[in-house]
Symmetry: C3
Subunit: 471 residues, 3 copies
């Protein structure tokens, strides 16, 4: 007897349990506590309130809300795919974090053969998870949970290697993750969706639309992301004034892009009405656009201007570029991640480079060499000792000039885009394996394929609403 | 060709972009970082963890949730105006905060011609924003987004001037903002709605009702506000025991008013059932009522009693006063802000005055003169030096007696009500300008006027429910 | 004239106001501020930022979200009982906290006849409230608000006495509350539902099902609980590395159980689809299972394995045990609390005992005697002085061996189960008093009995969906 397409009864448990056994084995073999979580490091000189957990945990909970409720609700915007959006987000995020703890841990947090675990690793792992979820946006509704798990399984290591290589060898400034998170996630996702191209979807799909309730749910997701985005952009900056500026710039950038999004939404709609999809997505553009320079002394005005610029690019992308890519480039970018993370990420990188070129000790004071750590004098340089009088604990750098640092930023952008696009394309081919139960074209954007639905699912109203009136 | 009424295609973009250009120009000219966000102030004596961001940011994120998710969901209680409630709240809040950063900054945070920006300014600006959103409650569903932006444009400066004048010249105690936030917002909003009076709405409106989902959404908004209200009331108190008491009193007041609201809701309903609108609104009365005395040593029992009293006044207001005001005073108070913020605010002020009259050094210890800063001895008084031995850093005050302080509180209440009502009335006249695209009576409480709606909007069910069964 | 069944017009107000008068009187007589909230303790040696509020408040707000939004949304999963789930949760929680402040205060926080109040009491009271809400899960939809208030009125004192006796006399390790919170709540709730047995409900009930929107709402509740659970499990641990580990273990346990829940859900469904009820409930099992050993050095791998085990037990419980208990033991456990809190709690206790038996000073260092405080040497033992050189402030213990401590843990489990089951049964008999307005069998799971509902409630769609297709 042939099983129903979409039947996960054997595949999903087998796949998940194999993964979990491997993960437990790796945790047993390699994972231990870091010094802030290990009881042995508690001595008579330890003040419990100095534990790193009190610096990191508030940012961690904010990012948790973004990942599970923010992304979850925002991805539930389809009328008949609300369960899918929230539930597959939950599954994928949970797996990606567990996996990233191991993979990032191997590259960044291992000493003497052990991965040292603290809340700071969880924050890093949630960033890796955000990368996977952004890429998920490109293929939302067109992938099985198995495909999503495999995507996470492959994307996390490619991301972790890229992150490690860029930070170790290119040594860039990217506090908000515009390059490493947003550009990587975007081009990886585009690579995947390029390979998973479904020609029939370009002719419209009866289930590819929203309902009143799903739109409100997605708007709540947007608001969760909006509200906590300053924590996302500042979680891993230097503590003190750097983190303070990152929060200010993110808030200002977001709030500028929100106003612009409302204006452009009315302007580009033929009836002069607001379009909810714009409010749900384009308002967030400012958070990405300030990313690469978020902790620098760019002035609040520049953060405001960046928010406006990012929003404009993002909006025009949704209006003109996304349809073009779908029609002519085989790139069906379901949630428009290229607009919200790609275009804005590129603007952010450009702005970061400008900020690096214009930065000077006059504006930053001696802490200039902390923020631009690679421009600090090399070990042995007498200038370093001078600076260490002013900022104790300043580490020797590479003595880079502004122009050199800018070139390394460019190199990081180009290599990140290259690696992620290639990684995405290869991952796409893996996802085409028939074992992974991809939905048929007809069953895309439909909860009923993989999830038990209640009786009021796709009710008469729902059927009626398959006649879309969207422009 | 005449454009459709409600067409925002030209008006909204023009208005928003003009505002944004002005705002950017003002940010360029006047806004800089405060000492906790400026890299130049980083020296070898700076401990990054002492940065003010770590004191302020947790309260800021809580208030963010209240403003964007709390107000947003609570204002989405109409059946056909869920988009409008959430989306216009988002737009208005975002603009009000940007604008308040500048206007409050000019009055309260400028030194040497520059506004010094830190997270503490954002908290203050979110309070100004809360003022606008409360006033918005009076005219919900009857105003275009343009009108709301103009309202914010005018209300923020009137608020900022009042706040500055009251704090600088009258020097009052109002930790939870009962006078400056709640009373101001209430009477401003009533002033606006008085001018925007629409006689036909007194005869009922087919769209002025709720649905099952919109009621649940609004209840979530209530819960967001309820949960984080202690942060709202304590965000700007003195640090330490003051902030601690503000949290305790707010929680106790809210929880007392919640129980009372359930009891009264069943009692005043002719079927002995609970009414959801009561649960959504009246449960919150305690948070306002404890406001003016929230950081004083009023005892937990008094906070409990205040919660019960405020709740009772608020509930009776909804039941008897609001209909009276609508029928006989041209005041159509859509969300009943006069009950939730006006009546409770007045009780709160009275309680604050009692607390001031009864406060003594016996109960507070020497920190009495920190909490009631204006009662501290004047500079040169030997008593001041004595106190400074006990509380280092105590600032000289004005040597006011309890009775004097109480009179200044009364003066602040009266002048705040006067200024806000007048400001609201004048703002109302500006909002009547035809350029601002007010909705027709028939299109009030209807998303379809300004926002693209999905096909299931106002479905057969919806039509059926125009026959209201509410009592 | 006879009143409608379910009419609360007299009963609820009378009951609530009597309670509130008693509560105010008790607050007046017994409640004062603790030293961190009392202005008199402010001296020139006090640093305001050292106030306990800054240690406790962030955890308190997280738990607030769990109690009011997490439980609230999760309990709203029935199609026609969304108002009931959220609103009765709100009512019950608010009352339980007020009441627990007094009752727990009497047993744990009173000195010289006064209950000393700070945010830490609120956290404790919210734990007592969580106990009541978990028990509520067993009788959801089958109880009137009056019954719920009476249940809270009785359960809180039984819980407070048990907690006090276990902590004072048995002196156990239970940082995450697996014994005192989860097992107590579970067996109390089962006791209540045993007495309130309704045979007709075993034959199915037309309203005992979900809708698309109610399922999404409940899923949001799950996510709120999931995201903040680390704060719940770590709120009252020792500060520093203990709290850090509690956060890590809870996160790892939850994320392991989430993956396992997805796998088992597909495996046990006859169509190989995911079942939303599993995602809503079973994913949370890991949070309970790590509880009793959450702050110990169990290794991350063990936390992962515990998450998987707890999840498996919980899932099998839902599938096989709950139907059995309902059919053969008169135990109708509406939300399956025996699976999510009972079975997992037992596993957690067993794991805690193993962790105690295997703990050694080698692994923990000298802080071993802080975490296992009762194993510290008794006063006068020279070993104690030695240890106090390493860990200043270490308090003398009872000199228990590992095996002794393990036996006390077992004693605590057995006595907690016994007391709670007995308390639940007795409470069940009180709840049968006719004055308390229990709903008839037919009106179970129906908002319309106690709450005014909007016109679209139980619309044609709703009626249609009474034909359940669930397996």
């Amino acid at each position: 007897m042939k099983t129903r397409p979409g039947n996960l009864r054997v595949k999903l448990p087998v796949f998940v349990f194999v993964l979990q056994v491997i993960i437990v084995a790796l945790y047993v073999a390699f994972v231990t506590y870091d010094e802030h979580a290990d009881a042995r490091f508690q001595t008579n000189r330890t003040n419990p309130m100095d534990n790193a957990v009190y610096r990191d945990y508030p940012f961690f909970t904010d990012i948790q809300v973004m990942i599970f409720l923010g992304f979850g609700c925002l991805l539930a915007f389809f009328r008949l795919y609300g369960f899918g959006g929230m539930v597959f987000n939950f599954l994928t995020a949970t797996f990606a974090i567990q996996w990233a703890i191991l993979v990032q841990g191997y590259f960044q947090f291992s000493h003497e053969g052990k991965i040292h675990l603290g809340v700071v690793n969880l924050i890093n792992a949630e960033f890796a998870c955000a990368v996977v979820l952004i890429s998920f946006g490109a293929v939302l509704g067109k992938t099985s949970p198995l495909q999503l798990l495999v995507m996470a399984l492959l994307e996390v290591p490619v991301f972790a290697v890229t992150e490690w290589a860029v930070l170790k060898y290119l040594k860039i400034n990217d506090a908000g993750g515009s390059i490493l998170i947003h550009l990587f996630a975007c081009y990886f996702g585009l690579g995947v969706t390029f390979v998973l191209y479904r020609p029939s979807l370009n002719e419209g799909h009866a289930k590819e639309n929203t309902s009143y309730q799903s739109d409100i749910l997605a708007l709540m997701g947007t608001l969760f992301l909006w509200v906590f985005w300053p924590s996302f952009n500042s979680a891993l900056t230097l503590k003190g004034d750097d983190q303070h500026r990152a929060i200010l710039h993110t808030f200002i950038g977001l709030s500028a892009s929100t106003l612009t999004a409302f204006a452009l939404s009315a302007m580009l709609n033929k009836n002069g009405k607001l379009t909810l999809a714009d409010i749900q997505n384009v308002t967030l553009a400012g958070g990405v656009t300030v990313g690469a320079s978020v902790d620098m002394m760019i002035t609040p005005a520049a953060a405001y201007a960046l928010g406006m610029m990012g929003c404009t690019a993002c909006m025009l992308g949704y209006k003109y570029l996304s349809p073009f890519l779908a029609q002519h480039c085989r790139i069906q970018d379901q949630c428009g991640i290229h607009n919200l993370h790609g275009l804005t990420g590129l603007i952010s990188c450009a702005a970061g480079i400008c900020a690096i070129l214009m930065a000077s000790e006059d504006v930053y004071g001696p802490s200039f060499y902390e923020i631009f750590a690679h421009r600090a004098p090399v070990d042995g340089d007498p200038k370093l000792q001078e600076l260490q009088m002013l900022i104790p604990g300043l580490k020797p750098g590479l003595g880079r000039t502004a122009r050199e640092q800018a070139l390394f930023q460019v190199a990081a952008v180009l290599s990140t885009i290259g690696v992620s696009a290639l990684g995405g394309i290869l991952t796409g081919f893996v996802l085409k394996l028939p074992y992974l139960a991809p939905p048929s074209d007809e069953m895309c954007f439909d909860d009923d394929l993989f999830i038990e639905v209640p009786p009021d699912y796709d009710s008469p109203l729902g059927l009626k609403s398959t006649v879309t009136t969207d422009d």
